[in-house]
Amino acid sequence: MNPFGLVIGFLTLIIIGLGFVWVIFGERYFSYRWWPYVIVFGLVLVGSSMFIDNDYLSAIVGVIGASFIWGSTELKDQAVRSELGWFQYRANKIRAPFEKSREMGTGPDK
């Protein structure tokens, strides 16, 4: 019997749950335009998990990295949800570096 997978599964559930929370607050205060930085952060975490000897810690860092990669793709949808009034909308957001030089989300239609 091996509790490793059960523990990792349970911790994954908590990490995914927390992912919903940080996506909501991240979009509210930082805007969806931070998504490239979030995805890079997630990739760095996944990459660094390969240099951790402890299996539990390596798996958890990998899962956290994966939740950041997934969350980065959710930021744009979350921005629409807050604009539609389903979540609190905050006009003054912390701008992402080089935001002006990138063309993203220029209109209401996909």
Binding site: M1, N2, P3, F4, G5, L6, V7, I8, G9, F10, T12, L13, I16, Y32, V46, S49, M50, F51, I52, D53, D55, S58, A59, I60, V61, G62, V63, G65, A66, S67, I69, W70, K76, D77, A79, V80, R81, S82, E83, L84, G85, W86, Y89, A91, G105, T106, G107, P108, D109, K110
Partner: protein, 144 residues
């Protein structure tokens, strides 16, 4: 090099993506969601047992993550139906269950209101109404 983290991360992304698509497509097509919920719970339990009996850490971790996402998907099937009822997800009128929802819940709609890019400012109620009922709004404007 320890590949456990990479395996766990890959499994997490693939299962979240798969679960996302599965819940959305399945809920829109099936006329009864209870059997799908029970199958997801059953698969979740089977994979968790697989994680418990597996000796290989990588297989145990992957099985544990797959199992937990199936259990999560069971819950998401219920939440997805609620989203249809409140109009946050488009209803499928060809699905008898969704057709009933469209009749019973005035907030339910066949318009996918999420199919847009962020525009940088909140929508007014009138703007949301014009997205959800473009023909009715246009007719009202014509009569005025």
């Amino acid at each position: 090099m320890n590949t456990i983290g990479l395996i766990a991360a890959t499994t997490t992304i693939l299962t979240i993506w798969f679960g996302h698509v599965l819940v959305r497509e399945l809920e829109a097509r099936i006329s009864r969601i209870l059997p799908a919920i029970l199958i997801c719970v059953l698969l979740g339990i089977i994979f968790e047992i697989g994680a418990w009996v597996s000796v290989q850490p990588a297989i145990s971790a992957a099985s544990g993550i797959i199992g937990i996402t199936f259990l999560w998907d069971a819950l998401e099937l219920i939440r997805q139906e609620k989203r249809v009822k409140i109009g946050h997800t488009a209803a499928n009128p060809r699905n008898p269950r969704h057709a009933r929802i469209l009749l019973q819940y005035p907030s339910a709609t066949t318009v996918d209101i999420m199919d847009r890019n962020p525009r940088g400012s909140p929508y007014t109620q009138a703007q949301i109404e014009s997205i959800l009922h473009p023909l009715e709004i246009a007719a009202e404007e014509k009569t005025e």
